[in-house]
Symmetry: D2
Subunit: 344 residues, 4 copies
């Protein structure tokens, strides 16, 4: 591949879009060549986000599905679910590799997709997509042409659960995933409930017993052989960024929990194991592609408590999308992703 | 009783203290006569909290255990655990009724207390205290001389669990209590981790698997006949006030959950049942003595998810203390407590 | 007047509307009888604001200008400017007293109004309105039929400037008013720039050199004989509530500044003079109708720095509207307004 | 010079220290070799800030003034004023270049220093220091051995004022500097007034008429020939990071204001001129070394309003310290400093 590779970003002015641009601009093997935005077509990125500057500060174009993938090697889609699928299909037909941040290609079973999202616009492509969690699907990502970047909640949950699942440690019963997310996870949407005055000093659950990210968590746990039921409760916290998932996991052989984490993540550059009895704060991964994981075992209860912290726009979306890019091309996955958290 | 009754507040300048003063000053049957503060003795309340004014803006005195209960009918103690017990004992000997906001008299079993807090300074008094959750111990509160006001976490948890417990609906297994608290729950303490720069845009669990409020929750569930184990995880959220508890409860006869809540709380002035499928936000109880409760049943999983929201300084501390006062004297429990939440 | 008086609130579900309802429900001489809301007609207040409850939790009606003032003594209008004027005119024709929180009747000169807001829908009424700053227009408010409640910024500025103006202490030159406001001042509006993610950890000026509240400040200073120019810069701060105004005032006879404040405000129940060298924090007036004022003199520079803090929804809007109601009826102005700030 | 150069950081665990480490670790010409911390000696940086990792995650040493400058080319001092001066002197004697973030060498006149800070520990060195504002003292910085990095408030003020001052545009009269700062500007100090519960939803001025950064602003304006008086009012805003300065400047020839900004900053990599009538938000410089500047002229009033936004830990402290390092060595000043703001 001739470097830098040329990339396009569809839907560049939402929160995952602008975060992706931030990462891509610092990536030494990438040249950002095309940005689309329906709302701001004709303006530059810096007209929408005055903080942006540099070579990626291009003029925004209206989305043209037929040409979005032309003359670029990679198309990142930051479009909403439903809107993304036909654009993804067009871009694939142009010969581009597509890294899709929407939900459209995450679920492998059309009927499950349709139960949660409605009719799927390109069901034939479902089987093609590689689930973009590099810590677990690195081999499949190498050379992939369609990557479905996981949702923020599934990322936070699965990074804490899959090591135990793959080691056969999750017992039957109910896995409780209690997640607390920052507001940027809902996107840059004009919704009353996302106003500053409605969110600050507030805290509330939503989608109790029926959030769209549940089937995605379940799908991946099933693939790892877990039979346990998952109960998932997202909460909206007065944070811009950050996603903390506190998980109550029925385990067998709790003495092997630590080993499962250590064996799985020994060489992973973005995973920080805080070890038993030490727990993460979302502030410590702010602005990074890191995940921090703590856990404790309650052997009498047959439970482990596992807590993961990610930045919902970082490892939960755009950072992970860049990590997937690196994995597709076989580059060091840290390329362009070595920022430290902004603390305080 | 001659009204207004005369009251003293020991430890008046912490967060529970100043919140209590706010409530007491608006209470038509109370006259605040004595306020103590070690740190600010000699100053007025308004020197410490410039927002305070009115008849309760007294000069603060150093604490004198021997006389704190003299010439008053009621002593509220907002002192920390360990410090409170001897003062409570002195005040009781002076003939005052004591409403204690510390942990010193909440646990009935000395050995349990000592496992979590160290030696108890007045173990003989443990049996005397009435647990100050008026919705469940109203009869015992009437005329009580020592009230142990529950902790904020136990209040949030028990208001969601006791209706199910008393109806015999909690099955064996594990009750998960995942709580998210505002920072004022930690008091006005000079701790690095409570600085604005350490908390804003942060979210973290603490005391995982071993917080001092756990035995209090367990004690009250045991008294209500529940055998299930409790796993309790508190989190610190970037809120000043507010305590949301998301609870995962193994239930039998899930069809009876709604009825249990409705029967228990039908006439309770401070309880708002949002009903199945609707959930509370802490902002909606800010500055009040209210608790808002939502729930949903997951019959396939044999679980109910119950969510309660309180203001940790309101129903979680000082508001409840005033409600206990009303209950002790047999007054309408709403007296002095009818504020609406400050929204937005 | 037979008490309680019957009142209607037009535009009850915006932020000034819900705050007004909070105050009115606690007012012993008022019965809330009619609430209008275009957006939520048919619902109850508590459907929109789950924190609301009590006798004021009425069903919302669509606004009917011809009948909004029927069968009530007072109509509060929380409608936006332009929308308010015809409703106000109708209500006045029904014989109701109107307390208008919009800008429609604040400016006395039609040409000034039209320069900032466009054509005025009821210019003949301009002369009728009493400017609702009770500390300065109490006599005129008594028995008034139309009250124009000042804007939040003018209230914050004028409470700091008028005592000096009336004492003839403001010299020629430029008065700088640098104000920092919470986001609720912008109302419950679906605007991208009011989203949590756009405001938290932000701080910015707006309307520099040309905000609509400037002519209102100028008008009242002119009435008080001040010739100095006013430069006014509002800022949006990451607060829900609170409005701090830091003012740099050219003064003559700076030794008389303190006396001017003390003489003006000696008997005012809502004004706290912190005195020279002590300055307010907006948190100390949160949720109240209070204003806190601090100042210092810089005699060498011929300047005084005056700082005022109000709650933009309290003294800056709905609290002041209730104070005006009290003034119109000659009641103790504190009636229904004696809340303490919610601190912390 | 052999690259990477070796550097030490004294006082590495305060907020300016950790921010400096973040920048230095990403700097390709620097190797961090020694870190001191009295409070955390013996621990690693990541024990204090769990977000930190990488080659700079060294073990912290107690400060040894005699050896802090040994075997390194540069010592950064993030020590508090008073503590810094003797360490700086020792390091200079060891032959190291010192970049000092304290106030100890910013003021050139000992008597001015002593009026605000008390006795100076190394007055002989005062004349040696170069004031570390590269946009204005770049030539003097090249090869300097002692750099006094400006305070955050003076940086924010001077970047807006010096272009006008040097062009002779500031008229006699009073320059008002009204600044709003995030809490990290006060450092990681155990102070009650910096607690989350004391700051969130608050806004207050402090040091009115007498803040220590005033003489620093005055000194640099005097050097640029300005006779006008400066009135400076800092405010504490509920931000972690960010410093907005709104300045009211008496100007002559207001038509030349834009030109003065453009001529001064045409080639400056960290300065963004938003142009007349467009104003900055602190969020847009968060985590960067940028300054954003907007202004408007009010010719009738003979005033310009100039607004600058910086990150108080970036351009206001540690970012600028790294820019000074680059200037001392004659490197491209952007080296290691090209981060984009973290938005949202």
């Amino acid at each position: 591949v001739r470097e830098p590779i040329r990339v396009a970003v569809a839907g560049a002015t939402g929160y995952t879009g602008i975060e992706l641009l931030r990462w891509l601009q610092g990536h030494p093997k990438v040249e950002v060549c095309r940005l689309t935005s329906e709302q701001y077509a004709g303006k530059r990125v810096s007209d929408v986000y005055p903080s942006f500057r540099g070579p990626g500060d291009l003029r925004l174009e209206p989305l043209a599905p037929a040409t979005v993938g032309r003359d670029v090697e990679v198309v990142f889609s930051c479009l909403p679910h439903g809107t993304a699928a036909p654009v993804v299909a067009s871009a694939l037909e142009s010969g581009a590799t597509v890294i899709d941040l929407s939900a459209d290609f995450r679920l492998r079973d059309v009927s499950v997709f349709e139960r949660w999202y409605g009719p799927h616009p390109a069901p034939a492509r479902l089987g093609e997509a590689v689930y973009g969690l590099p810590e677990f699907f690195r081999a499949a990502l190498r050379g992939a042409t369609l990557v479905a970047v996981p949702g923020c909640y599934p990322t936070g949950a699965l990074l804490g659960l899959l090591p135990l699942a793959r080691a056969g440690l999750i017992a039957d019963g109910t896995v409780v995933v209690d997640s607390k997310s920052g507001a940027s996870g809902a996107g840059r949407a004009l919704r009353l409930d996302l106003l500053f005055c409605e969110l600050e000093e507030g805290m509330r659950p939503y989608g109790v017993g029926g959030h769209r990210h549940l089937p995605e968590i379940e799908q991946e746990l099933r693939r790892a052989g877990v039979e346990a039921r998952v109960v998932f409760t997202p909460h909206l916290a007065p944070l811009r960024r950050g996603l903390l998932s506190t998980m109550y996991v029925p385990v067998r052989r709790s003495a092997e929990v630590a080993e499962a984490f250590e064996a799985t993540y020994r060489s992973e550059p973005f995973v920080r194991l805080l070890g038993p009895g030490r727990f993460p704060d979302v502030r410590d991964v702010r602005g990074t592609n890191d995940v921090a994981i703590g856990w404790t075992e309650l052997p009498d209860a047959g439970l482990a408590i596992v807590v993961t912290a990610i930045d919902n726009l970082g490892k939960g979306a755009s950072g992970q999308a860049v990590q997937c890019l690196n994995a597709v091309y076989g580059w060091d996955e840290r390329t362009g992703l070595d920022a430290l958290a902004l603390v305080p």
